[in-house]
Amino acid sequence: MNASVIDTTAKGAVETEGRDGRGEDDGTIGRSVKRQDLLEKATGHAKFAGDIVLPGMLHGKIKRSDVAHARIRRIDTSKALALPGVKAVLTHENVPRVLHYGSPHPRSASVTRDQYIFDNKVRYWGEGIAAVAAISEEIAEEALDLIEVEYEELPAVFTLDEATAADAPQVHDRGPGGNQVIDPIRVSRGDVDSGFAEADLILEGEFEFGRPTACYMEPNICVSQWDGNDKLTMWSSTQTAFMVRGILAEVLGVPLNRVRVLVDHMGGGFGAKQDLFQHEFLCALLARETRRPVRMEFSRKETFLGGRSRHPGTMYLKQGFRRDGTITARQARITLNTGAYGSHGPGVTTVGTTALTSLYRCNNVDLEGRCIYTNTPIAGAFRGYGVVQVYYGLDIQLDEAAEALGMDPVELKLRNAVREGDLAPSGHPIIGHGLEDCLRRGAEEVNWGPVRQATRNQDGVYRRGWGVGCEMHGSSAYPGIKEQGNATVKMNEDGTVTLLTGAAGLGTGAHTALAQIVAEELGVAFEDVSVVHGDTDIVPWDIGAFASHTTFMVGRAAQQAAADIRQQLLAQAALRLERDAADLAVRRGRIVAVDGSGSSLSVREAVSPTPGIPAAHLIANGTYTPTKSYSFAAHFVEVEVDTETGQIRVLQVVPVHEFGKVIHPVAAAGQIEGGIQQGIGHTLSEDYVVDTSNGRSLNAGFVDYKMPLAMDMPPIRTIMLETAPDPGGPFGAKGIGEDPIIAIGPAIANAVYDAIGVRFHCYPITPERVINALAGTD
């Protein structure tokens, strides 16, 4: 029924703990059980934050600046306030002035404190400068136009070159100077000079990265309500409910138990919904001021202006190779444009820079990453977090080296592929040979040698090519953030199970995977486990859904809690069976003796009340503090280039992913296919463009910002390997969320080269760029 394949043959099936010797078909892990969220979603009954309606609810709107860099000399809200139906207007003059982090990991090195709710300055075109609450959206919109603003314009910087020039105007008065958000990130191992001296071939190149954005389908939205006890309840479409709670409480000056953040279903995030956005503060403040619930929803245009993009930037990359293909040295200078605020810039710069220590092994590296402010929209977290950019250049340069050395790219990549025991970017030894397995399996699947041969000597208008791209990506944000996954598991007196988790449901199926892990560990049916999530007053604390860590980290915590419940359950059963708990096990929902002797009990009988024994109250917590594990992928891609129009079509993709253990094959394959869609997007067409003469956004909408849609998407034949399980993950599982968006980019660029013999060191590779390049080379 499904085109994807799980292949465990490369090194045999994975041994996992906690199975109690049960047979293969007992388990729920590895089966595409019915996702618990899909019935609601398919019937239109799933409640998203935007579906919340409260009596007396007002509508909030944000006025956005139409200059890129200015001091606000005067802001007059009197006419807006006088408009009938307007209930409150906020500006920098009447909101709390608290310097706060944009991204919600206050205690990590990944973020920087450089934002106010409203400042008396604007730093990019489209930044919010005032907010209105009114009885209808239309009146709120009208009021925005009545707010008078007088700006004192300041010189602005829109490009990295302008921002890093010697006498550049400064976007912030903070940081180490030169518009840097933080001091440069420097990583060095070994000795690059001697590495280059040893090389038979040295390649260097400049790469340039566009500005793709997440374009989740649900625009940012929140609804706020203060109750009579001065407690705030906020429904928000966020990946990081507890972080939103934390920063809100800090800025509003209230304790954590007076802020409750709710998020049930959310319409995608892809990393970009893990900042604390201006509208979340403003919505809470407008609700407090008016004592009425306030709803604030971004328009699609605002998701561009007020949202977060991937970091555009540049990279200089130089590598040395021996004749046999061994990499002897690697040097890189990465410069990322974070826009007007730091957001995740420091984290993205760190993760991207350190990623270059690995993937293809190299003992001598000298890397530097810089993160630069400009007067442009804010770049933040987005699936692939800095790694998308650097591996694009790294993998393309490997492809170039293969040609220069007269080697096949797969052979060269295999020669240098990261291996078991190598130091990962996080500083941990790599587990398993995942990357090699992916390369070998993919090459075999597509019949690599012959299909490449078939693309030689083409001269028609349409030319085809094959390319391969590789990646590895960490599950969890360690060591940048010391993370913690938590879970609470309860067994009810009828034997059913409730899992409480703070992990957000972005749509990945994570809650179903967590329920599967609990069911597997406990030995009960998946259908007997339900999941409660999305309420900061009820569920255990959670850092947020990001860094491909939910199944890996929260999954492990859930597994621990379930193991604890199993012990409690066996103790209960021991009472009732009058046997030693150590002799008992749970199998298919029944408690039996390990040696098969004596009578058995259903789980329900073991916990429900019987004469003389009250109902059991079983509850357990699990907490897991992970380090990091790495997943791997190789993507094989066939493209066709129209040499007249410059149009590139992706004809097919064969992604091979290794991520330890596949918990839910359909959901996992769905992650891969969706990541590939977004990766094709940023590689070929998606670029949020800012006018470099005045900072205006030029394509803040779905017509001008071009994403791959149903007609553009190629067939995808997904292969999932389980050859390098991580003992730190539940049943060996590692993350999968971010990986698929990374390898597809260089795979396409390499395939385009194979087709037309032109190297692109940039994305997106637009038809215009193809035409210009072909004209230049013809």
Partner: protein, 164 residues
């Protein structure tokens, strides 16, 4: 000035008071309390708000409520046959994992239904073409297309079963 319209929504005739500028989407979501249809852009670019209006799929954010006086509207809430009996398309979207975040799903299901009503045996290209105006950012469309194709086959088998 609000005006009254009479509209049949999911088989039930309703009288609604609507502002002249109110879109059908907002009317469904706010006045009729049917929040299944989603607002992804409000300008006709994403298809999350797709409903069937007098038998044809439309972006309800582009239709004024005042225009649907005396019309028939079918939304995602009216796709299932009964509270406990979902449409084959819905069932297959679940089976195939054709929904992830679910925000595009109501619009895509409605578009899929409109397609199969008109063309019971669409090719893969015809399905892709029908979905050209529906943005899904999560799935890469692979599983959506599998689910629609499988539904078409299933419905064809059911029809044959009835005939024979």
């Amino acid at each position: 000035m609000k005006r009254m319209i009479t509209v049949t929504i999911n088989g039930e005739e309703q009288e609604l008071a609507v502002e002249p500028y109110r879109s059908l989407l907002d009317t469904l979501r706010v006045e009729a309390g049917l929040t299944g249809s989603k607002k992804g852009c409000n300008v006709g670019d994403c298809g999350a708000c797709t409903v069937i209006l007098d038998g044809r799929p439309v972006n309800s954010c582009l239709v004024l409520a005042a225009e649907v006086d005396n019309c028939d509207v079918r939304t995602i809430e009216g796709l299932q046959h009964a509270p406990d009996r979902v449409h084959a398309l819905q069932d297959n979207f679940m089976q195939y994992g054709a929904a992830q975040c679910g925000f595009c799903t109501p619009g895509i299901l409605i578009m899929g239904k409109a397609l199969l009503d008109e063309n019971p045996d669409p090719t893969e290209d015809e399905i892709r073409f029908a979905l050209a105006g529906n943005i899904c950012r999560c799935t890469g469309y692979t599983k959506i297309i599998e689910a629609i194709r499988h539904t078409a086959r299933q419905l064809a088998e059911e029809r044959q079963g009835v005939e024979s």
